[in-house]
Amino acid sequence: MRRRVLLVIASRYDPGAASLASRWASVGATLLTCEDLSSPGWCFSPAEAGRGTLVASGEVIPVRAVQGVLSRRPCILPDELPWVTPEDRQFVAAEMTAFMLAWLATLPCPVVNRPTPSCLNGPQWRAEHWASAAVRLGIPTRHVRRQVGRFEVSQDMRGNAGFWREADMEEIEDPTELIVVGSRVLGAARPRLRAQALRLAHAAGLRFLSVWFDGKEDGASFCGASPWPDLGREDVAEALLDLFGLRAAAKVAARAP
């Protein structure tokens, strides 16, 4: 029987993702980079999404062998495609991103996080989207303000693009970070904050999310979230394996001679 694979979708220049894929090699983890998207072997029929083939780390793999996907890229960028003619890079990057969206969205296995049309790893929510979602959930929330000044004025005043942003996150010296991994919440905080973090992740359709509050106690305000938690943490990696149902397999592999 063919081996099962756990895909880590990332740039080959993402050391955190590469390190995790290497660490999870015993459970079949392999990197899928944009180089793989320029390789023969991809077959995707949306009506039969479970029957196609993909390419990861240069190898053609049946989709049915994929037991899970960790997505760690928002899109494919033109600059990542040096083998494509320069005038075609923007188009090819857009095509690859659009393809990955459709492919990831229809995969029959767990995908963390599922893509949305704005990002290959969950929704590309701005601070304002997060604040709005938190308010709707009744979570105490720090307001988000942004200001884009007139170009001429800001050119005179700042000598740059005239874009600045006043995000409350920047004002908080030591925010409390909780990391949602499936139904688990990693990090030290009161149960109420942990429940709020879970509700936010659920509202955003995410299973892997960093959530920040301006304190650890009940009544602390939500001040930001990101679907890009640090992969370098041991507890995060283990919780992800749990989420994919592979922790036991990893332990067995670790004990093998």
Partner: protein, 290 residues
């Protein structure tokens, strides 16, 4: 945009036109907490965003505005910041927004949107996206007539795959390419505006009538019947859209096949031919929100 703006003015609606060409003299303050508030200023004019009851948006990449391009890279960053701020507001504003950016985004991936269309109960063409020439040849062998088109929202000409293309199938390895079974029949474009439908048939001797190389393109009004029109209204609403241009083909066997739901349809081309008051319908939708 010009047609809708004129229709709104004919109705005496209080309009505020946010012209992207004025990007360099535009500023935005946005605050989101218990409410979505802020102010947009263009020169001396100011708009309090909380007073907006409806918005019709047709945003372009601000970096491509000629004045922005002439002003250099920093101006491009400024335009991007404006675009991003306005898109964020448009997603979150309590106003009726035609259409919200998040609802328009699925159109950026044709196979992704096709699955939404299929999930809504409409037929879509059999599709293959591949980097593998053998798979492409097998698809052609299965369907006979096949077209290829862009996967993304980048506008491209839909073309029939011919013998001259088959020699180049080895190039597929560079980038996933989308093939679809050719669907015979009559091209139909349906504009849905709220609960109203304006449909027309397009007769042309082209695989993609938007790019006629020879002959005429003839557009005429079409009555799809109440049941079909109702399905299109439900499809549009189900995708979170208030206005859409649906591209379909009516097969000889009477079945409808849906290709795409355009969330920012350029309806003036069709309106000019059919004299359907699509602009008035959009204006009415926007005014009614107030």
């Amino acid at each position: 945009m010009a047609l809708v703006l004129a229709a709104l003015r004919r109705r005496g609606a209080a309009c505020w036109f946010l012209d992207q060409h004025a990007a360099l003299s535009t500023s935005i303050e946005l605050e989101v907490g218990d409410a979505v508030e802020g102010t947009v200023r263009i020169g001396a004019r100011a708009l309090m965003l909380k007073t907006v009851t409806a918005a019709f948006i047709r945003p372009y990449d601000g970096r491509r505005i000629p004045a922005v391009q002439r002003a250099g890279d920093a101006a491009g960053c400024h335009a991007t910041a404006l675009d991003d701020a306005m898109a964020t507001w448009a997603d979150l504003a309590p106003a009726l927004v035609v259409n919200r950016p998040a609802a328009m985004a699925p159109n950026g991936s044709k196979p992704y949107q096709a699955e939404l269309i299929r999930a809504a109960g409409m037929e879509v063409p059999d599709t293959l996206v591949t980097t593998d020439q053998r798979a492409a040849r097998a698809f052609v062998a299965r369907h006979g007539r096949v077209v290829y088109k862009a996967v993304s929202g980048v506008r491209s000409v839909v073309s029939r795959l011919g013998p001259e293309h088959r020699e180049r199938l080895g190039d597929l390895a560079t980038c996933p390419t989308q093939f679809q079974a050719f669907v015979p029949g009559i091209d139909v474009r349906a504009h849905v505006v709220g609960g109203r439908v304006f449909a027309c048939r397009i007769d042309a001797d082209e695989d993609d009538y938007r790019y006629p190389r020879h002959g005429d393109v003839r557009i005429s009004r079409l009555d799809p019947g109440d049941d079909v029109a109702e399905r299109w209204v439900r499809l549009t609403a189900g995708m979170g859209l208030h206005v859409a241009g649906i591209d379909l083909r009516l097969r000889p066997d009477g079945a409808w096949v849906c290709f795409e739901v355009n969330p920012s349809p350029a309806f003036s081309f069709y309106q000019e031919a059919t004299e359907d008051p699509i602009d008035e319908a959009v204006a009415e939708l926007l005014v009614h929100a107030a």
